[in-house]
């Protein structure tokens, strides 16, 4: 039985975002939105509209100013640490989808700690534990143990796994986990049901509500996002994401909200995108998010090319992964399991850091103190 809608789903904001995205906007609407101190949903919709295509540079300038003031000339670096690609959900776009016959692997907690040490040696102090959705292989107990071990290696640990209940998030927080990342992928219910065919992730409302539960659990950072291209109406999805982020900032006031807009990449699933955004449109979408959410971190993965990543670091992105492997065990023993998707920026972490430095940006490896009460160093 599907879950009942949570507070955000019941707020009416999704409907307003959809309606705003469907409206038409004149160049004067775009101009006003770029200059506005506070943007409402329709202002953000104007920035995403066709009428804003010629205003990308002006919007980027505004986005850069907002980013500089709030975040300075600094980019935080982190690495995804894939702990398992075992999965009981069937999602048409994902390389870990249950029905795909790919090499599966779940690392032992000791192996996870080993991967963390490899990444720490490469400079990382912030790690994101990533898995497919397999409640037995990647159970709360397993994650708590992995997190507790990793928290002794680096000060900042977050998770990107299946969703959990509030008590489980609280247990993870107590083990030293700082944040949880749960992308809704698309906010469109029909499209969501088409691509999430079976398994835990099929339940739209459970997934959306989990973010609220995580926000009330003691975790201090929540990452949300959409998979751009999954839904034909990408504008509605970006707008819904902006509305969702603002709603979370208001209701879970002590929680830092970050947003991401990964574009669909080829994977073992090889599902075709419904919408293809060129680079200019993609940059515009990220800039619109920045001015809509001046206080939100914007996260960019290695799905994007080095040139685009470097360019976006100077405009609106505040946090980046680098030197990523999307395969469990891929840092110590590459090639033993299926990767989730192929990456585009294959530079080493040191090369990414050097590129940031050359652009006049400080690569920030450590931006947190250990939350784990047993940590002996901050």
């Amino acid at each position: 039985m599907a879950s009942a809608p949570g507070a955000f789903a019941s707020s009416g904001l999704l409907g307003r975002a959809r309606a705003a995205a469907a409206d038409h906007y004149a160049p004067t609407d775009v101009e006003r939105a770029i200059g506005a101190e506070r943007l409402d949903l329709r202002d953000v919709a104007a920035l995403l509209s066709e009428s804003a295509a010629d205003a990308t540079e002006a919007l980027a300038q505004r986005a850069r100013a907002v980013t500089l003031q709030r975040f300075g000339r600094a980019i935080r670096l982190f690495a995804p640490l894939y702990v398992s690609n075992a999965c009981l959900s069937t999602c048409t776009y994902c390389g870990f989808s249950k029905d795909l016959e790919v090499a599966r692997r779940t690392l032992t907690p000791a192996e996870v700690a080993g991967e963390a040490r490899v990444l720490a040696a490469r400079g990382f102090r912030s790690l994101l534990l990533v898995s497919g959705e397999h409640r037995r292989e990647v159970s709360p107990e397993y994650l708590v143990e992995c997190a507790a071990r990793v928290a002794t290696v680096v000060p900042q640990v977050a998770i990107e796994t299946q969703t959990w209940d509030r008590a489980t998030y609280a247990r993870l927080a107590a083990a030293g986990v700082e944040g949880a990342v749960h992308y809704q992928e698309t906010y469109d219910r029909e499209r969501y049901a088409e691509v999430h065919r079976l398994g835990w992730k099929r339940d739209y409302d459970r997934r959306l509500t989990a973010v609220e539960e995580a926000g009330a659990s003691g975790l201090r950072r929540i990452g949300i996002g959409v998979l751009l291209g999954l839904h034909e109406d990408w504008r509605a999805d970006v707008l819904a994401l902006a509305a969702h982020a603002r709603w979370l900032q208001r209701t879970a006031w002590g929680v830092e909200v970050t947003v991401a807009l990964p574009r669909m990449k080829p994977s073992a699933a090889d599902d075709r995108p419904r919408a293809v955004l060129d680079d200019a449109t993609y940059v515009r979408a990220l800039c619109a998010l920045r001015v809509a959410l001046p206080d939100a971190g914007i996260v960019l993965s290695t799905r994007e090319s080095p040139g685009l990543r470097d360019g976006l670091a100077r405009i609106c992105v505040t946090s980046m992964s680098a030197g990523s492997s999307t395969e469990p065990g891929g840092y110590s023993t590459p090639g033993a399991a299926q990767e989730q998707f192929s990456i585009s920026d294959e530079r080493t972490p040191a090369e990414v850091a050097a590129a940031l430095d050359a652009m006049g940006y400080e690569p920030v490896w450590k931006d947190a103190f250990a939350l784990s009460p047993s940590a002996e160093i901050f």
Binding site: G360, K366, F369, A370, L371
Partner: protein
């Protein structure tokens, strides 16, 4: 406190400008800006400090030698975290004068008055010299002083906002009442804001974002040094009365009938 030197923990400083080390494009730029600022006290976020990387390009490696390092607890969301962080830093060999920051709201980074006071009481009892970043609230500042804090550091406006002294009336009341140095921290966006804070009698100011994100941080650091000095001199010199923009002689005296 006209004429009194500025200091804490038994030390006095020639410069009344304190600077932060975040948001710079590179540690080397930060170092050059700190030098240009003439500051003698530099605050560093403990969450950015990586003792495992000491000597290999960590932020602490770039703080010019000879300056007083003031670690801060930025990122702490309650008293427990701030106290634990300060103790871990002390155990790691860092100074025991600490800039206390407890900011549970990630959007405004507004200081939590309740948790800040609790943390201050515990840290003072534990032997720390405590310099609390706090709301511009005269009562809170008195309470922090009573708790044994070495200074109070009320905000001019939201941290990083560069919006200037939006809390000026409250700052004046705090300065009037304070028995410890008042350091205006947060929101100072341009050199004239720093002058204004000094002119109303602040003992010192702390500036970070305005220097770090300037086009030329080194030049801006120098500008702030001059502004702080000018503002202080102006305060010590004693300002003349200010005439209202539209004030003039009353056309018909109201008390003429008194003879």
């Amino acid at each position: 406190m006209t004429g009194e030197p500025f200091g804490f923990a038994g030390r006095t400083f020639g410069s009344r400008l304190l600077v932060g080390t975040g948001k710079f494009s590179a540690h080397t730029v930060m170092r050059d800006a700190v030098v240009a600022s003439g500051a003698e006290v530099v605050t560093v976020a403990l969450r950015r400090v990586d003792l495992d990387r000491a000597g290999e390009g960590d932020v602490l490696d770039h703080v010019p030698p000879g300056l007083v390092l003031l670690p801060n607890t930025s990122g702490a969301v309650d008293a427990d975290e701030a106290v634990r962080l300060a103790r871990l830093a002390r155990a790691g060999g860092l100074p025991t004068a600490v800039k206390l920051e407890v900011t549970p709201d990630p959007r405004t980074l507004a200081p939590d008055p309740v948790e800040t006071l609790r943390a201050a009481e515990r840290l003072v009892a534990d032997g720390f010299t405590v310099l609390p970043y706090c709301s511009a609230d005269p009562v809170l500042c008195r309470r922090l002083e009573e708790a044994g804090c070495a200074t109070v550091m009320p905000l001019g406006s939201w941290i990083g906002s560069n919006r200037g002294l939006r809390t000026r009336d409250a700052l004046e009341a705090i300065i009037e009442a304070a028995g410890v140095p008042v350091v205006v921290d947060a929101g100072i966006g341009v050199p004239s804001d720093a002058s204004e804070a000094m002119e109303i009698g602040a003992d010192a100011v702390l500036v970070n974002t305005a220097i770090a994100v300037a086009r030329d941080p080194v030049r801006m650091a120098r500008a702030f040094a001059l502004a702080v000095e000018a503002g202080r001199l102006g305060y010590e010199a004693g300002q003349g009365a200010v005439r209202g923009a539209t004030s003039s002689e009353a056309s018909s005296p109201l008390t003429g009938f008194l003879g």
